[in-house]
């Protein structure tokens, strides 16, 4: 059981990677595309909009984390 869990966790980590936000965002936007298409409306715009949003959010978050850790390092150096 532990080995199975470890394997499942390893596969999930391999697929989702370091950023779960991207994985979740992709799944939600694919589902939204299917719903909009099912309603008979044009749905091709959903994924490009989602990609733009996800990429911007991911990069912004990574930059903020980098800035925070740099300022923490600088504060501890000053102290």
């Amino acid at each position: 059981m532990t080995a199975c869990r470890r394997l499942a966790r390893g596969i999930l980590e391999f697929v989702v990677g370091e950023d779960w936000l991207i994985g979740l965002g992709v799944v939600i936007s694919l589902a939204l595309t299917a719903v909009v298409a099912d309603l008979g409306l044009p749905a091709w715009w959903v994924m490009p909009s989602a990609v733009l949003l996800l990429l911007t959010l991911t990069v912004r978050r990574a930059v903020r984390e980098a800035v925070d850790s740099a300022s923490r390092a600088s504060e501890s150096k000053d102290a």
Binding site: F14, V15, V16, G17, E18, D19, I22, G23, V26, V27, L30, A31, T33, A34, V36, A37, D38, P42, A43, W44, V46, M47, P48, V51, L52, L54, L55, T56, T58, V59, A62, V63, A66, V67
Partner: protein, 256 residues
């Protein structure tokens, strides 16, 4: 060759070349410091394991219904592509350290020397490090080969593009016998991120039941659009970093 075939070959070749550079760096480090025979045997065993994975899963994937396959493949390519692309944007803008093959080579060599002297015959350390390095770097490529190949029913073409990339990188590695630091790895990762995200978006949308205006020709607009978005983000992050540096210099009373 159709537009999607060209995209398939370019994406698989670049992704595989990038991962092959990383794998060759590890094999070179353990081969030089410990045992060439063991390092090459480990690398060869990993290549065989990857070929078995592709050969076993390829036909199984191509048997899936096309729309289910496109949603799964599109989603996975998009997840991989966006991760590659966001890291490439951060590296290109200086917010993240660039991938440094020389540093990785030195770290691997140091660890190999610290592991003690290699004995006679096959050296387990060199074999395992080379095996693990090639397998882990290769798994992502095997995934890309499978997803691109299965979706277009061209697993053979995708595998050939991957093999060509490995051959080119290994040949260069064998000639220079040094870390492949001159290969523009970060630029290649940027290109792969753009291609995977674009194809992922295209197939995911089609698999979910939507139609692109212009069908396959939409890719000619999607790829440049993703590239331009990524370049705009690189510039925005670079500008933000400059602004922060200027503010910080101002606070310390230094010239910006």
């Amino acid at each position: 060759m159709s537009a999607t075939d060209v995209g398939l070959v370019a994406s698989v070749f670049l992704a595989c070349a990038v991962e092959a550079v990383e794998a060759v760096t590890i094999v070179l480090a353990v081969g030089t410091t410990r045992s060439w025979r063991s390092a090459l045997a480990g690398a060869a065993a990993a290549v065989v394991a990857l070929a078995v994975i592709v050969a076993a899963l390829g036909p199984a994937l191509t048997a899936l219904p096309i729309n289910a396959l496109r949603v799964a493949v599109g989603g996975l390519l998009l997840i991989f592509g966006l991760q590659w692309l966001s890291k490439a944007i951060l590296r290109a803008s200086g917010a993240k350290a660039e991938h440094d093959e020389l540093l990785i080579y030195e770290q691997e060599s140091h660890a190999a020397r610290a592991a003690g002297a290699a004995g006679e015959g096959i050296d387990p350390y060199a074999f395992l490090v080379a095996f693990k390095g090639v397998l882990l770097e290769g798994l992502e490529v095997a995934f890309i080969v499978l997803t691109f190949g299965a979706n277009q029913h061209r697993v053979g073409l995708a595998a050939a593009a991957a093999a060509a990339a490995v051959l080119v990188v290994v040949t260069i590695g064998a000639i220079v016998r040094a870390p492949l630091s001159r290969i523009p790895e970060n630029l290649m990762k940027f290109a792969v991120g753009v291609m995977l995200s674009s194809f992922g978006m295209f197939w995911g949308t089609e698999g979910a039941g939507a139609d692109w205006p212009g069908g396959e020709l939409a890719l000619l607009a999607i790829v440049p659009a993703v590239l331009v978005t990524a370049i705009i983000l690189v510039r925005a992050v670079t500008r933000g970093a400059r602004r922060r540096a200027a503010t910080s210099a101002e606070r310390r009373g230094l010239p910006a």
